[in-house]
Amino acid sequence: MTEKTKADKLAREVDKLIAGLEPHSDDEEIAQLLEVARLRRAEALRAAQRGSKQQEETWKLLLQQLRRKSPG
């Protein structure tokens, strides 16, 4: 299997992972890379969760900044 073919197959499974579906591959290397992808995806979700906790406070600060830039 060429690198491009593997990249295409991996891309489809990564998209499933990000969509919350269960990715799968019978190809040993792609299956290994999906395990790494799961790890990275978990970190992305943890970071997004931290962001969600700051979302409302940041929104208020952002509005203050925008109002200062919109005099009158």
């Binding site: 990249a7 790890l39 962001g51 979302q55």
Partner: protein
């Protein structure tokens, strides 16, 4: 974000007049949907939570001021993360030596000061810190593609638009980045240099 939306509608009528939003998602909808992703993208690229908040705030400020120039709702993801990318490039150009020192200090602190809390939570934090450190060993282009894929959750076409390249190149970059990361983990372990 109901509270934030109500605040926006009642407290900032003057700012709401600025962009033309008639055929576009409202700014609050864009903010609600994308803020956690922009934060995650910045946090995982910078390894600094406070800085990530500053960057995310700056991104949405710029997005608000420029939103009238957005022609299609379909391109909003790539448009927003192009702004995010520019914000981080600007930051790195201005602050790189300081940022590197601060990042290092943050790592040292995060890896030595987590005494309290359940063991599982501690392991997850250490795992995240270790993974972030390993990701930093990837070539910058692969780091960026992986962050746009996993943190920003952009499609390959959107990432290609942000980076002005082709979808094929993005798919190959994700493949090579994950393979390189797997090789680093296989060779050194997840906790290489982190404890």
């Amino acid at each position: 974000m109901t509270t934030a939306r109500a605040y926006y509608e009642t407290a900032a009528p003057r700012v709401a007049e600025r962009p033309t939003l008639s055929e576009l998602p409202s700014f609050t909808e864009v903010y609600d949907h994308y803020f956690p992703k922009v934060y995650a993208f910045a946090q995982n690229r910078l390894n600094d939570e406070d800085l990530a908040l500053d960057i995310a705030s700056a991104v949405f400020e710029k997005a608000y001021l420029k939103m009238g120039s957005l022609r299609s709702p379909d391109s909003i993801g790539s448009w927003l993360f192009a702004i995010a990318r520019n914000e981080m490039v600007t930051h790195w150009r201005k602050e790189k030596p300081v940022e590197e020192a601060w990042t290092q200090a943050t790592w040292e602190l995060s890896l030595t000061s987590q005494h309290a809390g359940p063991e599982e939570r501690l392991l997850k934090k250490e795992e995240a810190a270790a993974l972030a450190r390993l990701v930093q060993q990837l070539p910058p282009r692969e780091q960026e593609v992986i962050a746009l894929k996993f943190d920003a959750e952009l499609t390959n076409r959107e990432i290609a638009n942000v980076l002005d390249t082709t979808e094929i190149n993005i798919r190959v970059a994700v493949f090579r980045g994950l393979r390189r990361l797997r090789n680093i983990i296989d060779k050194n372990g997840l906790y290489q240099g982190g404890q």
